[in-house]
Subunit: 185 residues, 2 copies
DNA sequence: ATAAACTTTCAGTAATTTCTGAAAGTTCAG
DNA sequence: CTGAACTTTCAGAAATTACTGAAAGTTTAT
């Protein structure tokens, strides 16, 4: 399956970026290849296209499945498995976000919660705990918010985005319209 | 400078998470150490506390400064440099976000813009371009949004968060109240 | 049950990233 | 200007991570 120059460029780039996005080069390349191809691809085709070993391909596919961004696709009459994206771009992006949250934020949140529970054994510890508390709250806000955005779906996110700096205004608006519902923490 | 168990635990954790957050273990540890200590720390103190070489410490500090999350602090009468966090937790978190955006999203956005500009040389290429376009738009939305949140500041983010699923409702509300300002794309 | 067609696993190797420590560089007091 | 106190740099060593390819495993047709 010879790749068009366009696809090649994109695939190589996603490979380079891969490690920054939480997976390694080959996984990034495999992912891009699958997403940009309309036809389902077999593992062998992928290995050939990227010039990587069959074994490595297998591991990469496994990883992408654990991220839930690709899924198997069975072609009637064919013996081998084929792979396709697990959904729309929006869905894929969400899955990546979600998975990264699990790996990058959740463990920290858990630890911080624990550390904050212990009663401080000194003045110094108390200061530290306060700071940890602040970090905890911030991470929790961010987490809750990214969840929220995911639930909104792409169209509403778009509306919200077009609102731009208007978000602040909307907030004020909301205070006028739905009073008494804030500050219950 | 012996670390309390509380600080030790937190520092070690931030070290382990470091690589997931875009920097390496020692950089993560140094960062946590500086943030959790009220007193400014010297490079030597940091190296001792973490049992790492002085050279490595120097590199770590340099990196953290490039992220703009720590800054130098001069103690009158002292010859050496001390280091302190570059701002509040909120500011630090923003800087990390910002920096990651630069490394993880901006390069891709640039590439995608370029790839989309070329006129498609085949039906197949056109399909690919459309998909790249979709990815581009999504990344741009996310970028714009995270900018927006950063500008809001922590208090408003908090309000917004408490709104939770209410955001969707507010959006609808807004459509009724301020019509004609949407769908201009 | 056998064999062909395919996939996964994993030990060893290759590539990459991080760390050390010695040497070179800087700054400042005397 | 000199040297003490400090910092940075960078070549090589150590640690970590990714990749290969052969062997073991699985599935299905006959």
């Amino acid at each position: 399956m010879n790749m068009s120059p366009l696809i090649t460029t994109a695939v190589m780039h996603f490979g380079e970026m891969g490690s920054r996005w939480g997976f390694n080069r080959t996984v990034g390349q495999i992912f891009a290849l699958i997403v940009l191809n309309d036809e389902p691809l077999s593992a062998q085709e992928i290995a050939d296209a990227l010039s990587i070993s069959r074994g490595n391909t297998s591991m990469g596919l496994k990883e992408l499945q654990s991220w839930q961004v690709i899924k198997q696709h069975h072609v009637p009459g064919e013996r081998k498995e084929f792979f396709v994206p697990a959904g729309s771009i929006w869905v894929l992006a969400n899955r990546v976000f979600e998975e990264r949250r699990k790996r990058e934020i959740d463990p920290t949140l858990t630890l911080l919660r624990d550390l904050i529970l212990d009663s401080p054994s000194s003045k110094q510890e108390q200061v530290v705990q306060e700071r940890l508390h602040e970090i905890h709250d911030l991470l929790e806000s961010v987490t809750a918010w990214s969840q929220e955005l995911q639930n909104l779906g792409p169209e509403k996110l778009d509306t919200l985005m077009k609102l731009g700096a208007g978000v602040g205004r909307i907030l004020e608006l909301k205070d006028k319209l739905l009073p008494g519902k804030s500050q219950e923490k």
